[in-house]
């Protein structure tokens, strides 16, 4: 095995184990959120192995850093106790979740068997320059639409939060 393969299996194991840690820690929300951080950082490691350096950095910055810190902020602000979550009653939900999970797994296995060989990576692939040029020339309309959507979401959140104060 090459060093890259060893690293891949290491990061993959970290990602899977911490993802399980997140799902199984239903009672302890902080531990679940911290497991999510480990998953995100392990995924960033895999992105680096795939030469997607910018995506890896943004993965750690945005998902590993900002978003989960916000989760933690909310969890700590509500100061949830472990008994705030009643033991699961919804049988139907569990069944539906299991079925959907199995369907997803089957689809992943089916498509990963038939994967074509990876094309060679062009020089400079995954850099901020290439990404920036692609985003602001070919996909500029999508970027604008996304930014409009985000602005609308921020304004909406502000209005919902402010209604009680004024």
């Amino acid at each position: 095995m090459s060093a890259q393969q060893v690293l891949f299996y290491l990061f993959a194991a970290f990602a899977v184990v911490s993802a399980l840690g997140m799902v199984l820690n239903v009672r302890n929300t902080v531990a679940a959120a911290l497991s999510l951080v480990v998953t995100m950082v392990a995924l960033a490691g895999i992105y680096v192995l795939l030469e997607a350096h910018l995506v890896a950095a943004i993965q750690v910055m945005v998902y590993g850093g900002a978003i989960v810190v916000l989760f933690l902020f909310v969890v700590m602000l509500l100061n949830l106790r472990s008994d705030a979550f009643a033991p699961g009653r919804a049988r139907l939900q569990k069944l539906a979740g299991a079925l959907l999970g199995i369907a997803l797994l089957a689809q992943i296995v089916r498509s990963s068997v038939a994967l074509p060989a990876a094309p060679p990576v062009p020089p400079g692939f995954g850099g901020y320059r290439q990404l920036g040029i692609a985003l602001y020339t070919d996909y500029v309309l999508l970027v604008e639409i996304a930014s409009l959507l985000l602005t609308a979401a921020i304004v909406g959140a502000l209005i919902l939060a402010k209604r009680k104060i004024d």
């Binding site: 951080v37 350096h53 950095a57 850093g65 900002a66 902020f73 700590m76 850099g127």
Partner: protein, 383 residues
């Protein structure tokens, strides 16, 4: 190649973490003493020898290491024990991309004095910085103490807010130097520019004498506002006064590290001081030309000296000069941070947030816009 990287990493660890960080605790005590008309640390001695109080860091470490390591009742033991480590590790690994010297060629051997030089160098530091938040947050949450929890809440809100502005305040620097790689950024600053060169853009010929006046092409001269904003935001990220609301002694006792004792408290303390050096190195690299000497580019030094001696000696001399320059700039930035820390009182919590979202964020976006327009004027469209 791995040996070379390892040697550089060990060198950085020895100089910065083991060498500079303990001395900074002494600098802080002595500088605050001078500023407050006191004598400061001068008691710790070995056989009557006090060496200006320089033995105090050693005494502090021995004391912290031998103290009892208390885990409060009802605390989450695992999280409580691991939080200081999570706080300290990002501070240390951030050094990997800060260049402490340039690129030197001895015969057919080329060495670049930076441990790792990825294409996205500055983003690496931001990514590491966003992980550093967890040490504080976990410490506050796991202590099972209301004051600690309040400290953790304040820390998470403050660090998230300032991360946004910190990123935006250096976009102007990327635009000017057109790179994110820190070594290339310093190489771009190892030159000079004509102060009155902009007059030619508006069509006014520059008079002969004024045309001779040159400044080093440092980031601080192109991005003065960016420099001030980046320094402010990154100091707020470090949570030292005047931004120390997460530990605010007069309000929440000691905030997130209230329940820590012994060396685990020491680790929080140390990581703050290590971050002071990271900030100094980063600001020096982005805005003060890094290892570059003002008005003396590497070519000039090597060219002049190799006329008298052999080129290998000239390059070696240049490397030593560059490293000394970098360290001097780092020491200057450390002094500046200490002076600010002992001059300004702590912000109120809402003032910290107002400063970030209502003043620094709009200013940094305006800075990007203005920089964009100026660059378009200077370099022309189509670049």
């Amino acid at each position: 190649m791995p040996i070379e990287v390892l040697l550089k990493a060990v060198f950085i660890l020895l100089v910065i973490v083991a060498g500079l960080a303990p001395v900074i605790t002494w600098i802080e005590r002595k500088q605050s003493a001078v500023m407050q008309d006191r004598i400061g640390a001068n008691r710790a001695d070995i056989g009557g020898l006090t060496v200006l109080g320089l033995l105090h860091p050693l005494a502090d470490v021995i004391k912290l290491l031998t103290k009892e390591d208390v885990v409060p009742q009802g605390a989450n033991r695992f999280m409580h024990l691991i939080a200081p480590v999570i706080a300290a590790v990002p501070a240390v690994v951030a050094y990997a991309v800060i260049p402490f010297g340039g690129v030197y060629t001895f015969g057919n051997y080329t060495i670049s004095l930076v441990v790792a030089n990825p294409d996205w160098g500055l983003l690496y530091i931001f990514a590491i910085g966003s992980i550093a938040t967890y040490g504080t947050v976990i410490a506050g949450w796991s202590s099972n103490n209301n004051w600690s929890l309040l400290g953790a809440l304040r820390a998470s809100a403050q660090m998230i807010s300032y991360e946004v502005t910190m990123g935006l305040s250096v976009v102007g620097v990327f635009m000017v130097f057109q790179t994110l790689q820190l070594q290339n950024m310093v190489l771009a600053q190892d030159t000079t520019f004509r102060i009155f060169g902009f007059l030619e853009l508006v069509g006014i010929p520059v008079p002969g004498v004024l045309d001779w006046i040159r400044l080093p092409a440092w980031g601080v001269f192109f991005q003065p506002l960016g420099f001030l904003m980046f320094l402010t935001t990154i100091m707020a990220e470090n949570k030292r006064p005047p931004f120390d609301t997460p530990e605010g002694e007069s309000e929440i006792i000691a905030g997130y590290h209230l329940e820590y004792s012994g060396m685990r408290f020491g680790l929080f303390f140390m990581s703050e001081f290590i971050e002071v050096v990271v900030i100094a190195g980063l600001v020096a690299t982005l805005f003060l030309g890094g290892w570059a000497l003002p008005w003396l580019s590497q070519e000039t030094i090597v060219g002049t000296v190799s006329r008298l001696f052999n080129p290998e000696f000239a390059t070696g001399l240049c490397a030593i000069l560059h490293f000394t320059t970098f360290m001097l700039k780092v020491v200057f930035m450390i002094w500046l941070q200490m002076a600010l820390r002992w001059t300004l009182p702590r912000f109120r919590y809402d003032q910290v947030m107002d400063l970030c979202w209502k003043i620094l964020l709009p200013l940094s976006i305006a800075n990007i816009l203005v920089t964009g327009f100026v660059l378009l004027l200077v370099r022309g469209a189509g670049q």
